[in-house]
């Protein structure tokens, strides 16, 4: 595969994409397509909260205390906390 200069340019911007929501990635793809840059772009997708942090793991982390205290966060508790967070922002 021949890598063009413009591809390297985009690569520099997209080297690490740190997003947990697939919707946001979709928006990014749509925006690149709109600008006609999609075919010139290489994607590197990393999983994790705010990047693949040692504490974050594969599914992200609500609070580092769970990691440090070896208390696994379940999907149920994470969803509860997400609802709590939303309510906090709405107040």
């Amino acid at each position: 595969m021949q890598v063009k200069t413009s591809q390297i340019f985009n690569l520099a911007y997209l080297l690490i994409i740190c997003m947990t929501g697939i919707t946001q990635v979709g928006r990014l793809v749509a925006a690149l397509e709109e600008r006609g840059e999609l075919e010139n772009t290489l994607f590197f997708y990393t999983l994790g909260d705010t990047g693949s942090s040692a504490e974050g793991g594969m599914v992200g982390l609500y609070k580092e205390n769970t990691f440090f205290n070896c208390v696994p966060e379940t999907l149920e508790t994470q969803l509860e906390k997400i609802v709590e967070l939303r309510e906090m922002f709405n107040e």
Partner: protein, 332 residues
């Protein structure tokens, strides 16, 4: 050529023969002396407390009373507090700290989470030499360790982040997560410590069996040992491997390192309860030997607690173990 039926018969005979041989070998290899006749009990050993060890192990007990392990954590009182609390003032990096006594208790006036100074009562001493820190109670079952600490060598107060102004809301501030006792410090300063973090409430109900690092921190819970020593098996000369304890006698270097390393290492724990294993990394991820924390030749630079350097040393690989140079009970 043998028939198919003959083959099956021979395979069957071979299986029976191998099984019998294996059973015989297994029974021979087990040292009869290591198998107690009396069934002690099948319940897991429980923690007995260091006072139960004292009557039979007086020398070790006396050594331990003089050790840093004994002083790892203590109630704050006249005999345990080393720092100067005679209305001493220490100004460092934008914060004025005052250390004083009131009604027989010890207090530190220092910057709180809100950025303003408050009086905080010292509940526990943490460590002894070369420095001593002080633990203060916060809501949610937390204890926090102050950044201003006592230098036991120079006999003076000092700031752990000298030259850095740590914002009161910063993770590194003494009221923040990095200085939280329950998470960061507790498990290596007390015996049979249970962190008991509640994710839903973001709070702790941390408990310990003994406040400091006592016998059972290294030797394991002692009830089985005590039970065994009172049986006829022991009195009639029967033996139980290590008399039901961990690493009482004749350890090989790796076994002993497995006992010391869980605390004498900069590491991350993998589970709440230690998994019985001969592999250290089944229970923890040690800090990689990087130039951020170690000198280029592998010697300790930062807060590394021995393991990382020792495990790669020529000494360890020549069979030297911690207790060749240190008395594990007194720590000298």
């Amino acid at each position: 050529m043998m028939s198919r039926q003959e083959n099956i018969v021979w395979v069957g005979i071979a299986c029976v023969f191998i099984y019998t041989l294996a059973t015989l070998l297994e029974s021979c290899s087990t040292d009869q002396k290591d198998t107690p006749k009396t069934e002690i009990n099948n319940t897991p050993a429980s923690f007995a407390g260091s006072t139960a060890c004292q009557s039979c192990h007086a020398t070790e007990f006396a050594d331990w009373k003089k050790s840093d392990h004994f002083l790892a954590m203590q109630q704050a009182n006249d005999s345990t507090v080393k720092g100067n609390f005679n209305n001493a003032t220490f100004v460092a990096d934008g914060v004025t700290n005052r250390f004083f006594r009131k009604n027989g208790k010890f207090y530190i006036n220092t910057q709180g989470e809100d950025g303003k100074n408050h009086d905080y009562e010292v509940l526990y001493t943490f460590g002894y030499f070369p420095l001593q820190q002080y633990l203060i109670a916060f809501p949610g079952g937390r204890l926090q360790s102050t950044r201003v600490s006592w230098d036991s060598r120079e006999k003076k107060w000092f700031h752990q982040y000298a030259g850095q102004k740590v914002h009161s809301q910063d993770w590194l501030h003494w009221t923040g997560n990095s200085q939280n006792w329950n998470t960061m410090c507790a498990s290596c300063h007390s015996t049979n410590l249970q962190k008991n973090y509640d994710f839903a409430l973001d709070s702790y109900s941390t408990t310990w069996g003994e406040i400091n690092v006592s016998c059972e921190s290294c030797h394991g819970s002692g009830s089985k040992h005590i039970d065994f020593m009172q049986t006829q098996d022991y009195k009639s000369g029967e033996r139980l491997v290590n008399a039901g304890l961990y690493y009482a006698h004749d350890t090989i270097p790796q076994q002993q390192l497995n006992t010391c390393a869980p605390c004498h290492a900069r590491k991350t724990d993998l589970s709440q309860a230690m998994t019985p294993s001969t592999g250290i990394m089944d229970n923890m991820i040690p800090q990689i030997i990087s130039d951020e924390f170690y000198f280029a030749d592998g010697q300790i630079d930062d807060e590394d607690y021995e393991y990382g350097s020792f495990a790669q040393s020529k000494m360890f690989h020549s069979g030297i173990q911690c207790s060749n140079c240190h008395n594990p009970h007194s720590g000298n």
